[in-house]
Symmetry: C3
Subunit: 159 residues, 3 copies
């Protein structure tokens, strides 16, 4: 494969690290309940396409974490959660990228832990002012046929 020069190859490796860190920031801000930080991993006009309804726009993302009566505060962050993403395949093309892979949310339950959600995911990302953000996420619960619905790009590969 044609890999380009040193600068381009370093940037590609660094971009993958930055995107993994973006997903960790997504997880950490969800687990600490910091709605503003969580909403800012999404682009201002981002869409999260889910099986049970979509979320669109940064205000809606903010509210989904901030609302005291929402699912997040009551059932996820409240009892204690871990949002873990990956392993991910990430492909970077300049200031855009996509990522695909699973996401798992653990919650504290009784004396142990339960899987709150497990999903197949496709993300479209963009870099704006030097900072990666999620433009679109398609997520479906792990179950019959779900992977085929969501995993769209991995076959062509990241290269």
């Amino acid at each position: 494969m044609s890999k380009g020069g040193v600068e381009e190859r370093l940037q590609a490796l660094e971009a993958k690290e930055e995107i993994r860190e973006l997903f960790n920031r997504y997880g950490f801000s969800a687990d600490t309940g910091e709605a503003r930080l969580w909403s800012e991993v999404w682009a201002t006009d981002a869409v999260y396409d889910r099986a049970d309804g979509s979320i669109a726009g940064r205000d809606a993302f903010f509210q989904s974490i901030e609302s005291p009566d929402g699912v997040h505060k009551r059932l996820i962050e409240g009892p204690g959660s871990v949002h873990a993403t990956g392993p991910l395949t990430i492909a970077v093309d300049g200031d855009t990228a996509w990522a695909e892979g699973p996401a798992l949310v653990w919650v504290r339950k009784d004396e142990g832990y339960a899987v709150f959600s497990l999903s197949y995911n496709h993300w479209d990302l963009q870099r704006r002012e030097g900072r990666w953000e999620i433009v679109r996420r398609i997520g479906r619960p792990v179950g019959p046929g779900g992977a085929l619905e969501v995993y769209r790009n991995w076959k062509a590969g990241p290269g």
Copy 2:
């Protein structure tokens, strides 16, 4: 440690990413049930050494995913699965590499998820025509003594 020149160091970092992506391709093609793609992450003469019997050769790998009566279609992909590998330690030496670490298979069960398998693994890999593939995998279920049977190279380290 002696690290070599910029080109060599970039290639080592890129090879680790490519090998992680190979394992993701392994997982995604298992979860989508794409037998041909899954069989092609293995070398043509690859061997998967398992506690309950080995699989050898790409045709056998293909059949293990494709067979409608096999364990995979009935108990794993059918209900919905996630194959997740890692965290992995990977060591690259030119066109050969090894990797060690855990692998976990989740399956949909009732309204939640169950661990179908959890294993210790050693993989030998080779790069043929610019593409990494698995030559040999040794996998054992997590249980007493299993880690010592399988983890062979990590002590010497990847460097």
Copy 3:
């Protein structure tokens, strides 16, 4: 962001890989029960700050794995375990670094697997004689408020 020269950027990428491999060495030596190797992922004067009491100094780390009556041999390594760390955000500054993220310990239980522990973690690391080691780990069980207690650096980011 100012990224420095090629040498500096390569070193930063390599250091993150080395630190991930350190955490894998942590996990593999715990799962194989190799007390000496496990104790050596810690600095000689390292401290592990836990909710139920701290461990300090390499001898104490060695004993925690080696003791036949200890929790590790009886309840974790004995039945069979997987120590998995991540996904992690890692920030490197010369010969020091920090990492943050979850850690999960699986143990064999009956015919399946159970989560023995799930925690939020902050690690301080140093590189001494070319080798990374853990200077301090703060770990708290996943539960209400735990993430806010432990995740200290991620907001400022790794850059």
